[in-house]
């Protein structure tokens, strides 16, 4: 497969990167940020929304920071599994992403900003032409969504990153940086529907780093991932849970691979705890009811939804032990 041509830029500071992005935008041209490239470059080969410019974040020193409270966007997932000062939940989650080879390139930032996926979309150009394109990559045709036809307003491609729910249940925030400066927000607020928008990043803005609060260190977490094979596969469903042992009010549960964005289930947890004692099976059922997967990944949505209950129960049992 031939990579479509693009111009690769290598800024070495945050400022340089932001300026570069601004200057490309000023010329009316499009670009993509690239960290590890394990997601965006295969998509390019399939001619899925390739851009004439690609800006690599690899040269920015700050992006490589790795400490218990701060993880730069360029930190490879393999470092999470090998460095000493990483939260055990992140070690557990990172070791389940793709394969050990891919984790050498794949990064924290890339995983959080992962493009949403759909089997009508992650296909070659020839293939997508044969279905007359889809809403997410319509190539100017105004094509309809192929998963849920006749609505044409919403993309329901699925977010299949593993790291997001785990960072969420550790209370992580993200630092975004762009032409309008820096802003920080809880990771749970970073994601925004639909499958095309994915998150709040504005053009020219990128995710510089993830920060964890001090109390994250006290948290005990567990991540349950559903997949067909124990290597390579994206999650078909994933649930993370954590708490400060003994304190039910600190309980956090988040899920991924079920909708177009990962979700922190704060509302379900709150309602459940208000109603009484923490009951893993009861809470699991509540979480299950709150998600609506669609038919665009390897396993059917009905099954994936059923599994949310099992995964949540197991994640909760994992931290309650």
């Amino acid at each position: 497969m031939l990579m479509p041509p693009f111009e690769l830029h290598h800024p070495s500071t945050v400022d340089e990167a932001v300026e570069l992005a601004a200057s490309i935008m000023a010329k009316g041209e499009a670009f993509d940020w690239v960290a590890g490239g394990t997601d965006v470059l295969p998509n390019y080969k399939w001619r899925i929304n390739p851009k004439p410019h690609v800006i690599s974040l690899a040269g920015i020193e700050e992006a490589h920071a790795l400490s218990p409270s701060e993880l730069g966007c360029m930190v490879p997932l393999s470092s999470l599994t090998t460095e000493n000062n990483v939260h055990p939940l992140l070690v557990q989650a990172a070791s389940k992403v793709a394969s050990s080879l891919i984790r050498k390139s794949a990064t924290v930032g890339g995983n959080l900003c992962l493009d949403t996926r759909c089997f009508w979309y992650n296909q070659s150009e020839d293939w997508r032409r044969s279905i007359d394109w889809c809403h997410k990559a319509d190539c100017g045709t105004g094509a309809d969504c192929r998963v849920i036809p006749n609505q044409n307003t919403l993309c329901v491609a699925t977010y299949q990153g593993d790291m997001a729910p785990n960072f969420m249940v550790l209370g992580a925030s993200v630092v975004l940086i762009g032409p309008e400066g820096e802003r920080t927000m809880p990771l749970a607020e970073f994601y925004e529907l639909d499958g095309m928008k994915k998150n709040v990043l504005k053009t020219g803005e990128f995710l510089l780093k993830v920060t964890l609060p001090k109390e994250a260190l006290q948290r005990k977490g567990c991540y349950q991932k559903l997949r067909v094979r124990d290597s390579w596969d994206f999650p078909e469903a994933g649930v993370a849970a954590s708490w400060i042992p003994g304190d039910a009010s600190t309980l956090l549960v988040a899920s991924t691979a079920l909708e177009s964005i990962p979700r922190l289930h704060a509302e379900q947890v709150e309602n459940h705890l208000e109603a009484g004692e923490l009951d893993p099976v009861g809470l699991a059922k509540t979480v299950q009811k709150s998600v609506k997967p669609v038919n665009n990944t390897a396993l059917p949505p009905r099954y994936r939804r059923s599994m949310v209950k099992t995964l949540t129960k197991r994640a909760l049992q994992g931290i309650l032990e």
Binding site: L2, P5, F119, Y303
Partner: protein
């Protein structure tokens, strides 16, 4: 004095030797080139690898073999790395896409965006105008049809009138580089008329306005049926009042070979106007024939060069349209053209295992004999015939062994649909039915309260017998395979005794070792395989064969048997198998024929060389060849090893008058089989047998199945190279596990193939691989080379049913939708819970077994049969045995005379028409010639 001290080269001084026995670097004297390695001393005979029947120590429990006297203890039976492995591990093997010729162009193929459409026009003017485009070709350039089977030629280089699936070839272009070629594809202007596609094979049985292919007067009404089969043997009245029975309806998804190397081809018309075509082919000879037909060029003006093949498994055994495209473009351009597929194109050309609907009914009588198999197989052929004619038969007839049957009834149909074409894949045609049959036996054993292994052991056909359909069984290691996996897996302490979620299951396999009929010619006129050997003054042995090494080790097998006969180190054997210019015609690597047929031919050729050497030694030593021994580059008098000559001395003597020694050997199968229509399908000079036990863990809350252990016994006759055999067994387990647990070609609601890539087409990773205990069973086939039979395909069969049966043992649920992805298993569990009014999957009951009265009967019978089989295997009992003896019939008289109602039929009786299964309904349709319509 030990025998090892005899020197190879009289006159050459010894090397300087260290105290530890090794030679000092730079101080050793190399013998003259060609005398084999650098060891000047003859190694002692390796008696452990010389059969006891000819004075060695190798045990021969299955009796003596005609090739025993050709054994020299050199390499046969020893685990050795494949001879081409150095080229592969150092990255120097040249696969299809590694061929780079000066001035090459890159070819790309324009593919259909429609499932089914008529091409109204193709305008190539914009393509031709693009700078950098050198040649353009469309279907009109090559109107001649081709196909792997002469009876079903239904393919063109590119679509002539219609495209038949998304991805079907429409046109092709050659340009100076890939980017230009890709750009050029967007400049073709094609006008389409879309036609109504067919995706569901059941719909393929119905009449259609525009059948996908039209076979004229032989077309079945207006259906999309490509082939229908009916086979019935035996007395069907036996099945009417069964003591026990089982019935299973299966849906099996299509699977792909998943080989590593995508298809690639380089075509070049040399300065003399001959076509040189480089392609990773399993069957270069068929490509050779098809090229000749399509290009209108005589075969002798084409040289097909087989590159290294990065995995085939049946997926590279058809002549392919892209091979024609490359040749057409190269001819127009006057420059070499290279075409390499993307992975998606690999799935579009497909030829994987057929998606199938299989229905298996079976019955047993009150003494635990299998009174009937009733099989119906509807298989989805996709857009072209490929090997489908044969697959249609194999789905039935390869289930006629290893068990003795009271009757056998099979209806099969293969239909065209608007999907990529199915074809041959490892275990061709036998895998899906075998799975259904073996699971059916498990179910029937349960209803009889007997152990399923004992049910099998009490119903096996013995060695040297005949199946109900007339296949000649020679060696048969089925019983030993079953007994060894039973023991190895500790079956008797596990089966139906493990806790919920853990299970153990059994499955058997039976497969052809070479197809008895060479498709393109009468075996009476030409042999199946021919091998040439040439030995010149240097002593190196050059073997010319057309056997296509696709990674399975055929080159190694050929080198091994030649080295064995001539008693030469394997490094002295050079196999040349890449070019049709130099290779004798060979049918290539399919139907598990290569070791059996090619190695047999190679042994015969090597004996030809050996006899010339022995004659020369006789003249030099004065001892008759009968008392001469070949061992490690030396020929000497049996009773006094000091009296002898080196290999090179004998060779030079033999060459004195003639120059280089030349010999050839050929293999042809003996006449065999019945005379009914389809009798040749499944006929083979030998058959392999296998039995596997698999252990699984099932997560009852998620439906995830993991296979943890496999005990895999395979009867390969004789393991010429145990390392390679074990590799084949383990590899087969991996491939079969993929089909049973995770792999499927997913066609979505629009009929598009949804997962034409290796992320979503889920081949098991190393994490999913169980521990495989490979157990080699050696039944010493009388006609196999040194007793060998196939080991490349048969070992795949048993893993599927073993896993499905183990899942039942673990959770008590019969699942008949393959693959058993977690959602399928979970759906089964949910249904089961609902049926039994349970809330919690953990509360399900595991199946248990309490032996019924029949168990003793079966054990007693299998004890008797063990002795019967031993005597027959060793030819101590040579009486006739045909399927039916178990039911009390006389093997020496035709069964039709003895049994009222005995029938051998290849067409249904009118009264049977109403009760035929899905595929059988194809028999309700008439051929056009019987309809009085036009053709």
């Amino acid at each position: 004095m030990t025998m090892g001290s005899y020197r190879q080269q009289p006159g050459a001084s010894s090397s300087e030797v260290r105290k530890d026995g090794k030679r000092v670097a730079g101080k050793q004297v190399f013998p003259p080139p060609g005398s084999g390695g650098s060891d000047p001393q003859m190694r002692p005979r390796d008696l452990d690898f010389i059969p006891e029947t000819v004075g060695g120590k190798e045990p021969k429990p299955a009796g003596d073999h005609i090739h025993d006297r050709d054994r020299t203890g050199t390499v046969v039976g020893k685990p050795i790395p494949l001879v081409d492995s150095n080229a592969k591990v150092t990255g120097q093997a040249w696969y299809g896409d590694d061929v780079r010729l000066p001035g090459e162009l890159i070819g790309k193929i324009l593919r259909s965006p429609h499932h089914y459409a008529r091409i109204k026009s193709i305008d190539t003017s914009r393509v031709e105008a693009l700078p950098g485009v050198i040649a353009v070709s469309t279907g009109q350039d090559a109107p001649n049809r081709f196909g792997v089977l002469p009876v079903t030629k239904d393919e063109h280089a590119m679509a002539i009138e219609k495209v038949r699936h998304v991805g079907d070839l429409v046109a092709c272009v050659a340009a100076v580089d890939e980017a230009t070629a890709i750009e050029a594809l967007s400049l073709f202007d094609v006008e389409w008329e879309e036609l109504e596609p067919v995706f569901d094979p059941k719909k393929g049985l119905e009449d259609h306005d525009e059948p996908i292919h039209w076979r004229g007067k032989y077309h079945l009404a207006r259906t999309n049926v490509q082939k229908r089969v009916f086979q019935e043997f035996g007395d069907r009245s036996l099945v009417n009042a069964p003591h026990a029975s089982s019935h299973g309806s299966w849906t099996m998804s299509g699977v792909h070979h998943g080989f590593t190397e995508p298809h690639a081809v380089v075509a070049h018309w040399d300065p003399n106007g001959r076509l040189q075509l480089y392609t990773p082919q399993q069957v270069p000879h068929y490509t050779h024939r098809a090229l000749s037909t399509v290009l209108d060029v005589p075969m002798h003006q084409i040289n097909v060069i087989r590159t290294f093949v990065g995995g085939g498994f049946g997926g590279k055994s058809d002549p392919f349209p892209h091979e024609m495209c490359a040749a057409l473009l190269a001819r127009k351009a006057g420059r070499p053209v290279r075409i390499t597929f993307d992975r998606e194109e690999v799935y579009w050309i497909n030829r994987g295992r057929h998606p199938s609907h299989i229905d298996v009914k079976m019955t047993a009588d009150d003494s635990g004999r299998i009174s009937g198999f009733d099989i119906d197989a509807l298989i989805d052929g996709g857009g072209f015939a490929s090997f489908g004619h044969v697959t249609s038969y194999y789905n039935g007839v390869l289930a006629t062994a290893p068990y003795e049957l009271g009757s056998f009834h099979y209806t099969g149909a293969r239909v065209w649909t608007n999907k990529p074409a199915s074809g041959a894949m490892r275990g061709h045609g036998a895998v899906n039915t075998r799975c259904a049959v073996e699971v059916g036996l498990d179910e029937m054993a349960e209803s009889m309260d007997v152990d399923p292994i004992d049910l099998r052991l009490a119903n096996l056909l013995p060695p040297h017998s005949r199946t109900i359909s007339g296949f000649r069984i020679t060696s048969n290691g089925m019983r030993e395979a079953l007994e060894r996996v039973r023991e190895g897996s500790e079956w008797d302490s596990k089966f139906r005794q493990l806790p919920l979620g853990q299970g153990i299951g059994i499955g058997c396999g039976f497969f052809i070792s070479g197809s008895g009929l060479p498709i393109h010619w009468d075996p009476k006129n030409f042999p199946h395989a021919t091998v040439h050997i040439q030995v010149d003054m240097d002593g190196g042995v050059t073997v010319h064969t057309g056997a296509a090494d696709i990674g399975q080790g055929s080159t190694t097998a050929v080198a091994q048997v030649v080295a064995e006969v001539l008693a030469l180190p394997i490094e002295m054997i050079h196999v040349r198998s890449h070019e049709s210019d130099t290779s004798p015609v060979d049918l290539g690597s399919y139907s598990s024929r290569v070791t059996f047929m090619n190695a047999n031919a190679a042994i015969r050729a090597a004996i030809g060389i050996r006899d010339q050497l022995l004659k020369a030694a006789w003249e030099m030593l004065g001892y008759h060849p009968n008392v001469l021994v070949l061992n490690d580059r030396r020929i000497y008098y049996k009773h006094d090893p000091a009296i002898g000559v080196s290999y090179l001395q004998a060779l030079h003597k033999a060459q004195a008058d003639t120059g280089a020694l030349i010999a050839r050997g050929a293999y042809r199968s003996p006449p065999m089989g019945g005379v009914h229509k389809g009798a040749a399908a499944g006929l083979a000079p030998a058959y392999s047998f296998s039995a596997y036990v698999a252990e699984v863990d099932v997560d009852v809350e998620t439906g995830l199945v993991s296979c943890t252990n496999v005990w895999a016994a395979h009867d390969c006759g004789k393991a010429l190279n145990p390392l390679a055999v074990k590799g084949q067994i383990i590899g087969s387990c991996h491939m079969g596990l993929g089909q049973v647990l995770t792999e499927k070609m997913v066609y979505g609601r629009t009929g598009h193939l949804q997962n034409a890539n290796l992320l979503e087409y889920k081949i098991p990773s190393v994490h999913e691989m169980p521990h495989v205990e490979a157990i080699i069973v050696e039944s010493s086939d009388p006609e196999g080379p040194f007793g060998a039979k196939e080991a490349g395909e048969g070992p795949l069969l048993p893993i599927l049913p073993a896993v499905v049966n183990a899942v039942y043992d673990a959770i008590g649920i019969r699942l008949r939708n393959l693959p058993l992805t977690p959602d399928v298993v979970y759906a089964g569990i949910e249904k089961h819970l609902k049926k039994h009014g349970l809330d919690d999957a953990e509360a399900m009951a595991s199946p248990r077994l309490k032996h019924g009265p029949l168990q003793k009967v079966l054990v007693a019978r299998s004890d008797e049969h063990r002795e019967r089989d031993r005597l027959r295997q060793r030819s101590e009992d040579t009486s006739a045995y045909v399927n039916g003896v178990l039911f009390g019939f006389d093997p020496d008289r035709p069964l039709a005379e003895q049994v009222e109602g005995w029938r051998e039929a290849d067409e249904p009786l009118p009264e049977q028409l109403a009760e035929l299964g899905f595929a059988g309904r194809a028999w309700l349709k008439k051929e056009q010639r019987h309809m009085g319509g036009d053709d």
